[in-house]
Symmetry: C2
Subunit: 216 residues, 2 copies
Amino acid sequence: MTATGRKITPLGNRRRDQILRAAEAEFEKYGYEGARIQRIADLAEVPKANVHYYFASKSTLYDAVLSNVVDLWNAALAPIDAAADPATVLEDYIRMKVELTRLYPAATRIFAQEMLGGWQHLSEHLKRETRAWTEHLATEIENWIRQKRMLPVDPFHLIFVIWATTQHYAESGTQVKSIYRKNSLTRQDHDRLADSLVTMVLRICGLEPVGHGRNT
Amino acid sequence: MTATGRKITPLGNRRRDQILRAAEAEFEKYGYEGARIQRIADLAEVPKANVHYYFASKSTLYDAVLSNVVDLWNAALAPIDAAADPATVLEDYIRMKVELTRLYPAATRIFAQEMLGGWQHLSEHLKRETRAWTEHLATEIENWIRQKRMLPVDPFHLIFVIWATTQHYAESGTQVKSIYRKNSLTRQDHDRLADSLVTMVLRICGLEPVGHGRNT
DNA sequence: GTCTATAAGACGATAGAC
DNA sequence: GTCTATCGTCTTATAGAC
């Protein structure tokens, strides 16, 4: 089940997927207002009217793309093992988030754009889903602090540090590239970011690295 | 001197300023593509053609807005006292950045939008200016690390933590509000963010609070 | 399901009276 | 400087043949 309550592409609709992928690229590059159905059609190599056959309107198409993006997020970040130690959970979370950023930069940028736009195009249902997960993690962090298993810190601010920093890196072709004077971020760049972020977050929490993920 | 080499509104052009302010609000809300000159005109309470009298094109108008935003940034964040201790410089930087976010949320959001869009509408000159300041701070941090005045950490990642987190908060009317279930962020919210962020950054650097700014 | 052609309207920009 | 009226273009969406 996806966020919309339907299976993602019950298989057998290649044309639809083709258009969906093209739309993702278009919306990533130009945002909702800037996106052009003609370009989506060209990229998907179908006539423009064909896009409207599968998706009634531009808005419907964007909904479909956003829904996929949110599903991706929730699926990957869902499980939190409350029994595990904080350092492990936080490190796993960070590495997972950086990995998502690396694997799906387009989805990540659309997500960020939508956030900056105040979720103007996101349904109430999807909004609730994204919020629920964050609150869950925050509650866990509060428990750990109460149990003196980590230094006191505002849970939401800590989550935002992780979220904002990885999000910030999602934008290949932006200030990050501009500062590093590179054209694309490599696998190594992302590993270094993950390592660095883990180090920083653990220091914030006064935790020692577990060292099960990588050798530093 | 501003980023464009001219004084900001040499005073005496109320109409122009009126339009500029309206444009700022419009671009903040809808982004460059989504912005509508008609709405800007309505908000500024002038006929649409009047907008075109003061600004030749939509692009020109956006340039003017962006230029003001970048000037604001550079003016407030420019001075770094290399002789001062790291904790003081970092704390001052954080509090200044949070304050800017509080005072100019519109400017901040436009800045963030432009960043996410890959600075598509920012002139080369302005790009260079924003980059220069970041590199300057990074160099200072590297010096401090070499002099063992703080724990080793990737300077850019540290800056991004600060930048991304405060930026993330700039979006009143977004996920932050959604999570906190509030309609606007108060002065106190921003103070708490600044305190929290200072604590986190100083822990990352292994530094003690100086306590000259606020009593924690 | 696929595609061409086109409708219907919105938009940025301008001409030209005052 | 200000404003009305309008031009030309672009864009979403649809009608209707195949």
